[in-house]
Structures are given as C-alpha cells and as structure tokens.
C-alpha cells in the first residue's frame, strides 16, 4: 500500500516537473480535481471523468463540493427545476449503463397533451412507451412527507460516489490561484484545498458563479431568465384521473408567456412557466385561463405547496474555460428553454473527455470542449426561429385551429407521416436538436398539409359545427 502511494507520488512529481518543462497541462496519476456543485452537471462530470480515467489506468481523486442534502424536503433539498429527463437523455443514459430506478422516476411520461383555446390534442410517442422521466430534484416539495423515493440529484451524486468521487459537504466561498497556476478552493470555515483542475457546475442560481473575477477574468456569466416553478399537492389518484401519464403543455395567447407545462409526479403536479420577466401577475393570469383550470379537479386551482422563481441559462457564458478550469451545465452552456439536464450531461461529458484525453489548459478546452458548447449555441440560434413560429401560433387563432386539426388528424391515423406531431413533440420534449426540427419542416408535405388544415380548420361551417358541439357538451 505504502509503495503504491509512493509510486503515485513519484509519478505525480515527475508529471509536474514535465508540465513545468514543456508547458503542457494535463492530468496525471495523483491529480486532484475539485467540482463546485453536486447537481447533475457536477455529478455527470465526476462520474465520466473517473470512468474515463479508470479506462486508461489514470489514478485521480475527485472532490465534489455540495453543502445541500438532497434528501431534505422543500427548498433545502431542491435544485429548483421542472424535473424532466428528456426522451433522448433517458435512452443515452441507458446506453451508458445508467438506468433510472423506479424510486427516482416519479412518473414515466408517454405522451404530451397540448392545450389551446381552440381545443386539446394528445400527442403520443410512436412506440407508446414511457421514455420521459418526471423526477424530483430534491426529496419532494415542502408539505410532502419524506417519500420512499430518491431525488434525481441525490441518485446522480451517489452514482458519482460509487465510482470514487468524494462529496465535501461545504460551500466554496472563494477561489484563489496558487503561484504555479493551480486553483485553491476556500470554504467559509477557512479550510482550503489546491486542485489541478476545477470544474464549476454551480448552475445560475448560486453565488459561486461570481467567484472567478480574478482567477478567470475572461469568463462572463451566462445571461439568465427568471422562471416559475410551483408544486401542487393533488394526490396520486387525482393526478392519475386528471393528468395521467401525459405532460400538459399550453399554447396560450398571454403576454410575455413563452412556454408553460404541468408535469405529473407522484402526489404532486409541477407547473413550469417560462417567459420574459415571469412574475406573480403572469402566473396568476396563466392560472386563471380556462384551459389551465380544466386540468385541475373541479376546475379549481389549489394554492401551491411550494413555489420559486429560479433562473435558467438563456445565453451561453463567454469563454467557459480557462487554464485548469471549466464551466459545465447551466453555469456554462445550456439548450434554450429545454432539456437543461441533457445539456448538463453533454457539456459535463465533453469537459471530462477533454480533461482525461486531451489536457486541462484553456487551449485544450477550446479545441475539444468548446465545439460541444458551440453546437448547442448554434442550435439555440435556430431555436429562436422555431420559438418565433410558436409565438405566431400563440397569437393567431386561425393558426391554432390549423395546428390543432393537423395534429389531431395525424394522431388518429396510424401509419401516416406525422409532420406536425413530430415537430411539436421535439419542440416540447427537447428530445431532438432544433436544427433537425427545422430541417424536417422543409419537407414539402409539411407546409402543404398545414395549408390544407388551415383552410379546412377555419371554414365557417366547420366553426359553426364545432361551436354547436361545444355548446352541446
């Protein structure tokens, strides 16, 4: 044991001497990595870094700084997020050998219910399979009894610990640079440790983002947007009856509203609202909409058991890397409005891959990690076009009628090409890149079918018939 420790120390000493000689920064046996934040990005980074290091026989130590205990109910144990693991991420994690256990998945989602003032339509997965996971980030909302379930963040942190990551239950209050350029993480109790590499996975709702003014002056925090997350205690049976295994999304003509969804989970339903300047007023006007009220028993919206206004990354950080430092997840780059956990997975894995196989200098991260972020950024610029189109649908009642008719027809006919359903599915779930959604909309069948449905869906006698049907109901 002593001799193995001695070998590691010697290897480390030689590696440092080599680094100093050739100016190349890389991990070597005995290197220490500090991770700020034990949410999905921090856990994914640690897990993949340790797995990749092991695959090439590299012996490194990872410390994850996370003061929060995810098994606390309410805000104390929560990372403030809608808690959806997208269809594509569920599949990729399964391929990686990470299968989300049923104690983590609060509900498997197999469909989306699109609510509009002109009607509702259900969009099913082609395979009728539950491939979207609704999860709690902590151990459930305030008011909930400690549940027989594990929060998603705790599960991932335990997964990272199972491959050797050590969880340090401390905040990081300061980051300093040593003379040799290595970062030192300082905790409020005065303790500190020097690391060869620091990964920042603090999200955008943490003070930790603002600790790098001196150590990484080129890094500029991402631009973020205020959102609303609310948890409604409805009980399992009511949820089953009113919401089922569908995620409910709303295209409503409300000022400043970008996207809203109700996600069924265990005894609770989570409401997420995204938009410009989300505030109490927007939340109230959303909850007063009849399309929303219909989703609750007796069309009465109860008071939320717990709610918050967390921020989400909407414009990527500037230069989320430096010598011996990298920013992953929301504190670096994320997909616009969707699949934040998926972005954490992609950026964290790209950073881990770079650190193990390329090096840990700013140049290494620019060459090998930044392309992943750039790809997400490019896709986000396409997303703005797609969301502009969604806005038009939100504003134009005649457009909503056409979209509703086209989607309903596609869903009722097996074997037909589902242009609108698949576009809506991918936009709502965040499963496919926005680029792919846009490319698919160029298929000649898409605009032709949309045009046809716009015409037929807005014919006056159709409207009269529907109104008569609605009044009968």
């Amino acid at each position: 044991m002593t001799s193995s420790r001695g070998n590691v120390d010697l290897a480390r000493h030689l590696a440092l001497a080599f680094e100093a000689e050739v100016g190349r920064l890389a991990l070597s046996d005995g290197s220490r990595i500090g991770v700020i934040g034990g949410g999905p990005a921090g856990s994914f980074f640690s897990y993949f870094l340790l797995k990749m290091a092991e695959s090439i026989g590299l012996n490194v130590a990872v410390d994850i700084y996370e003061p929060r205990l995810f098994d606390h109910v309410g805000p104390a144990g929560c990372n403030h997020c809608g808690g959806i693991v997208s269809e594509s991420l569920v599949q990729l994690l399964a391929a990686e050998g990470i299968n989300l256990p049923s104690t983590v998945v609060q509900r498997g989602i197999d469909s989306y219910m699109l609510h509009m003032d002109v009607g509702d339509v259900r969009i099913d997965t082609p395979l009728h399979e539950k491939r979207i996971a609704a999860v709690f980030r902590g151990n459930g909302p305030r008011e909930s009894r400690p549940i027989d379930a594990t929060g998603f963040d705790r599960y991932l942190l335990e997964t990272a610990s199972s491959v050797g990551a050590k969880v340090v239950r401390k905040l990081v209050s300061n980051v300093r640079k040593e003379e040799d350029g290595r970062p030192r993480l300082v905790s409020p109790d005065g303790s500190s440790a020097v690391y060869d590499l620091v990964a920042v996975a603090s999200g955008v709702n943490s003070h930790a983002l603002h600790l790098f003014g001196k150590t990484a002056p080129d890094y500029v925090c991402p631009r973020s947007l205020r959102t609303f997350i609310g948890e409604f205690h409805l009980g399992r049976e009511v949820i089953e009856k009113c919401l089922g295994t569908s995620m409910h999304v709303f295209l409503l003509d409300l000022p400043r509203l970008e996207f809203a969804a109700i996600i069924p989970k265990g005894d609770f339903a989570t409401l997420c609202i995204l938009g410009e300047g989300v505030d109490e007023q927007l939340v109230q006007s959303f909850l007063s909409a009849p399309e929303v009220k219909r989703c609750f028993p007796g069309s009465v919206v109860p008071l939320p058991a717990c709610h918050c206004f967390p921020r989400v990354n909407v414009v990527t950080a500037v230069r989320p890397f430096a010598d011996r430092m990298v920013w992953v997840g929301d504190s670096g780059t994320a997909r616009l409005y969707k699949d934040g956990i998926g972005s954490a997975y992609r950026t964290a894995k790209a950073a881990a891959k770079t650190a193990v196989f390329q090096g840990i200098s700013a140049e290494d991260f620019r060459k090998s990690f930044w392309p992943t972020c750039s790809k997400i950024n490019f896709d986000n610029s396409i997303a703005t076009v797609i969301f502009a189109a969604t806005h038009l649908i939100q504003k134009g009642r005649f457009l909503r009628r056409g979209v509703l008719r086209m989607t309903a027809n596609e869903q009722s006919q097996e074997g037909t090409r589902r242009h609108m359903s698949s576009a809506l599915w991918d936009v709502f779930t965040g499963s496919a890149p926005y680029k792919e959604v846009l490319l698919r909309s160029f298929h000649p069948g898409f605009p032709l079918m949309l045009l046809w449905n716009l015409v037929v869906g807005n014919l006056p006698f159709k409207k009269a018939r529907r109104m008569a049907r609605e009044s009968r109901e």
């Binding site: 993949f48 797995k51 990749m52 695959s55 594509s88 569920v90 599949q91 990729l92 399964a94 391929a95 990686e96 050998g97 299968n99 989300l100 049923s102 104690t103 998945v105 609060q106 509900r107 498997g108 395979l127 009728h128 399979e129 539950k130 491939r131 996971a133 379930a149 089953e240 295994t245 265990g266 992609r346 894995k349 790209a350 891959k353 992943t372 790809k375």
Partner: protein, 139 residues
C-alpha cells in the same frame, strides 16, 4: 406508474429471431431469456438476461435481422433505445459506445469460456470412451 419503458408479461416476446431491428433494449426490471430457433429442432436457450443488461445491439451495428428471440422469463420492463438516436450521438461522442463495447467484450469472454468448457467436457468424454474401449479389448 413511476417507471420507464414498456412492460412485458411472462412469456411475451420482446424481439423475434429473423425480424428486422432498428433499436436496442435496456432491461429496467425482470429477467429475459435469449433463445435460438432452428428449423425442425427444439429451441436452445443461449443466455438469461437480467436488470441492467442491454440486448439487440447486433442489429444496430450490422444491417442484419435479429439473430435470436428474446422472451420475458418474469414480468419485465424494457426500455427501447432508437438506433438513430444512438448512432447519431456516437458520431458526436464515440465514448458513448464504451459501455456497449465493454458489455460485448464480456459476452465474448463468457462465450469463449463456455466453448472451452464444452470442448474440455467433449475431450474428457472421448478419452473415457477410448479407455473403456481399450479395457473391453483387453478383457
């Protein structure tokens, strides 16, 4: 309700030998058996799969039909991974295939162990038969 994938009853077939496949599967819960069917001969069980195992990967990498039938031994929950999603992401991130390669390597190792054992058993049987024959000749 709080689970992912599709539930298969005991005895239900998940993939059938000879079918065209465009996905692989990850077992979330339960046990499944892999059987090889031969015309006019009884089927042969070649493996039992458990929670966490992945199967159907051969159809992902080769443009071939399913090489065996996979059937639920107990009630089982299985998640489908689309070939398109998987291959596209492997192009972007080749390390995604690590777990599959590791699992396939493990399978090859256990198959070669089984083949070695079978051969040893066969050799032992041949030696015994030869010895018995010689003994009879001496008698």
């Amino acid at each position: 309700m709080s689970s992912l994938g599709k539930t298969y009853k005991e005895g239900e077939i998940v993939v059938r030998q000879g079918e065209v496949g465009d996905c692989l599967f990850a077992i979330q819960e339960g046990k499944l058996e892999v059987v090889k069917e031969h015309k006019g001969r009884p089927e042969v069980r070649i493996a039992i799969l458990d929670k966490g195992d992945i199967f159907g990967e051969m159809a992902i990498f080769e443009q071939q039909v399913r090489s065996a039938t996979v059937r639920a031994l107990t009630e089982a929950r299985v998640l489908t991974v689309d070939k398109r999603t998987f291959i596209r992401r492997v192009q972007e991130d080749p390390t995604l295939a690590f777990n599959l390669v590791r699992m396939m390597s493990h399978r090859i190792r256990s198959m070669s162990d089984q083949a070695g054992e079978k051969r040893n058993r066969g050799d032992r049987r041949k030696t015994r038969d030869r010895r018995q024959k010689n003994d009879r000749r001496v008698d």
